[in-house]
């Protein structure tokens, strides 16, 4: 298995952290993994993205031209990565914030109201975790249980009270994708 994943959104939406969570979970499953952020003179409100590669084999290039999966958390990210997706790839977008859709028939596009789910859980900042749950359900890049454990280890002490909300966010994202797949089947 070899997944090349891009997570992209506004600075402050937790796209880099979501990528790190995925990397930690992949490491726990003893996969090869690289995480590399966009870096530069960036600030809150600007765009940010990270690339996570998870593989059974040693990873050469940590950079990706054509991702096999992408999470788009804002409209510019969707506009940028929809055309770059590898054929057969999975593009998950936050439908609460993104209106446009790709016209590509060769990719699987999942419109998930992640921000809305996060709001319903009372923690608007965890839309990134909802998206992560959907990514895991759609790609099986790691097991959902592994990510649940990873959350336990890596949600900071300051945000301990939000751990349960995070775990529910993860499940809601995954359930949305599973329900969608069941409906399509």
């Amino acid at each position: 298995m070899h997944h090349e994943i891009i997570i992209s959104g506004f600075g402050g939406q937790g796209v880099l952290f979501a990528g790190q969570l995925l990397a930690y979970a992949a490491l726990e499953e003893k996969k090869h993994v690289t995480w590399i952020p966009s870096y530069g003179p960036e600030m809150r409100g600007g765009t940010a993205h990270c690339t996570v590669i998870v593989s059974d084999e040693e990873i050469g290039s940590p950079l990706v031209q054509h991702p096999t999966a992408a999470l788009a958390l804002n409209p510019p990210s969707h506009a940028k990565y929809a055309p770059l997706m590898k054929a057969g790839g999975v593009l998950i977008l936050d439908a609460t914030l993104i209106e446009q859709r790709s016209d590509r028939a060769d990719i699987q596009e999942i419109a998930l109201p992640a921000k809305q789910f996060a709001d319903e859980l009372g923690v608007p900042q965890i839309a990134n975790v909802v998206m992560l749950g959907a990514l895991i359900a759609a790609t099986k890049v790691v097991a959902l249980e592994t990510m649940t454990r990873t959350l336990q280890e890596h949600v900071s002490v300051k945000h301990r009270d939000k751990l349960e909300a995070n775990q529910m966010a993860l499940r809601r994202g995954a359930e949305f994708v599973n329900a969608r797949a069941a409906a399509l089947a």
């Binding site: 790190q20 490491l27 993994v33 870096y39």
Partner: protein
């Protein structure tokens, strides 16, 4: 201090590893954690017994300094010992603080990125003359000038050819993974002290900013050492003098001879490279650092298409693994050098390949086209990106296919080449 035979200028030993990006096979047995490159290098230095760090912030290196700003004071509080972190007022101040700590015998380092590294060159030249062992990290960014923050490899000349004035060469190591950055940094202090030399870890933002699983080496205790040259106060012993000023030409000549002998020993013993698929390769891609791991992806794709392509990755940029490259140049017919600059290491590759001329002669192809005339040696092609663009695997693969000899040598071609020779002579 042991130095090699001053007459033996040619390297005699090259450490060649096959088949793996990472150098330290033992690390597989240790516990893996996820580390960011810059912070991993800082922690490896701490575990190697780093006593004094001096630095000044600059992107994309800042995490290294930031990490040590809390790590070293915490360690001092816990274990006592000689652990100093100091953010200097400038890069000039930082390198001269390193100079002072190094002549006092402390394990010391600094880190910077290209423009800041340029500011340190005067200090480095003085440190070289004083034979003060120290470790530097250059997280290369776009240049010349202030350039930008994106990853490049454009400091190759400055790093490997000296950088400051006078005759000296730092030892330059270029890791391609976070694990390798840790392993090389962990050993860098021993290497610096063995040769009383400057050791530079050369990476770019790709490696510095990237997170990868790492097995950290064990913590080493700080040793008290007196090797006969440290300036530690002359109580109860004759005084020692360390200077870079030798007004008498014969004295400076002697000092330069000592440096040359050390350099010869470094060249003889400390050459490192990693190879993949070079045994039967018709075309060999040569690249270092982050460009090499991207090239590796392209090389694997080329292999999957049935092309006989290999990868040669110098780990020590200085001393450059020229002997091994010369050896490969007697077998491979094309070299493709990939760098994130306008073409710097390619000069060292050309020198090494040119040395193979005469050792092997065969008909071949030049510039990707069938060439019926006699080709005395493999051609060296170059592909570079500048300004902070990282080459992508597809771009490298495209060049591999362009330069790849596509037809096997036939009897006719060899006869024809022999005729060409007879005709030319």
């Amino acid at each position: 201090m042991s130095v090699g035979n001053p007459k033996s200028w040619m390297p005699v030993k090259t450490l060649t590893l096959k088949g793996n990006l990472s150098m330290d096979a033992n690390s597989a047995a240790r516990k893996l954690e996820l580390w960011k490159g810059n912070e991993a290098i800082a922690e490896a230095a701490v575990r190697a017994g780093l006593e004094a760090y001096f630095g000044y912030p600059i992107t994309p290196q800042t995490e290294l300094l930031e990490y040590l700003s809390t790590r070293l004071p915490t360690l001092k509080k816990r274990d006592g010992g000689n652990r100093v972190f100091l953010q200097a007022e400038s890069e000039l101040a930082a390198i001269n603080m390193v100079y002072g700590a190094a002549v006092a015998g402390a394990r010391t380092m600094t880190s910077s990125s290209s423009p800041g590294f340029s500011l340190m060159q005067e200090g480095l030249s003085y440190i070289a003359a004083s034979q003060a062992p120290c470790v530097l990290v250059d997280v290369m960014r776009g240049g010349p000038g202030l350039g930008n923050l994106a990853p490049t490899q454009a400091d190759y000349f400055q790093l490997t050819k000296g950088g400051g004035h006078g005759d000296y060469h730092p030892i330059v190591l270029a890791p391609a993974t976070v694990q390798e950055a840790v392993d090389l940094t962990y050993n860098a202090f021993d290497l610096a002290e063995k040769y009383r030399a400057i050791v530079i870890i050369a990476i770019d933002g790709n490696i510095g900013q990237m997170m990868e699983p790492v097995a950290m080496p064990p913590m080493r205790a700080i040793e008290k050492r007196d090797r006969g040259w440290e300036l530690t106060g002359a109580r109860n012993r004759p005084r020692r003098i360390n200077t870079s000023l030798f007004l008498q030409p014969h004295e400076l000549e002697h000092m330069n001879r000592v440096l040359s002998e050390q350099d010869a020993a470094v060249r003889a013993n400390e050459t490192r490279c990693v190879e993949q698929f070079t045994d039967d390769a018709e075309l060999i891609v040569v690249a270092f650092g982050s460009a090499a791991r991207i090239a590796q992806t392209a090389v694997k794709q080329a292999r999957a298409r049935g092309l006989r392509v290999g990868l040669f990755r110098p780990v020590s940029l200085y001393p450059f693994p020229e002997d091994r490259l010369t050896e490969l140049a007697t077998r491979a017919r094309q070299f493709l050098v990939v760098e994130m600059n306008a073409g710097q290491m390619v000069q060292d590759v050309r020198l090494a390949v040119d040395r193979a001329a005469g050792a092997a002669r065969y008909p071949g192809y030049a510039g990707g086209a069938l060439n019926w005339s006699w080709t005395p040696r493999p051609t060296v092609q170059f592909f570079g990106t500048m300004g902070g663009l990282t080459p992508m695997p597809d771009e490298i693969l495209e060049r591999i296919e362009k330069y790849m000899p596509v037809l096997p040598l036939s009897e006719t071609m060899i006869e024809r080449a022999a005729l060409d020779i007879a005709y030319t002579n």
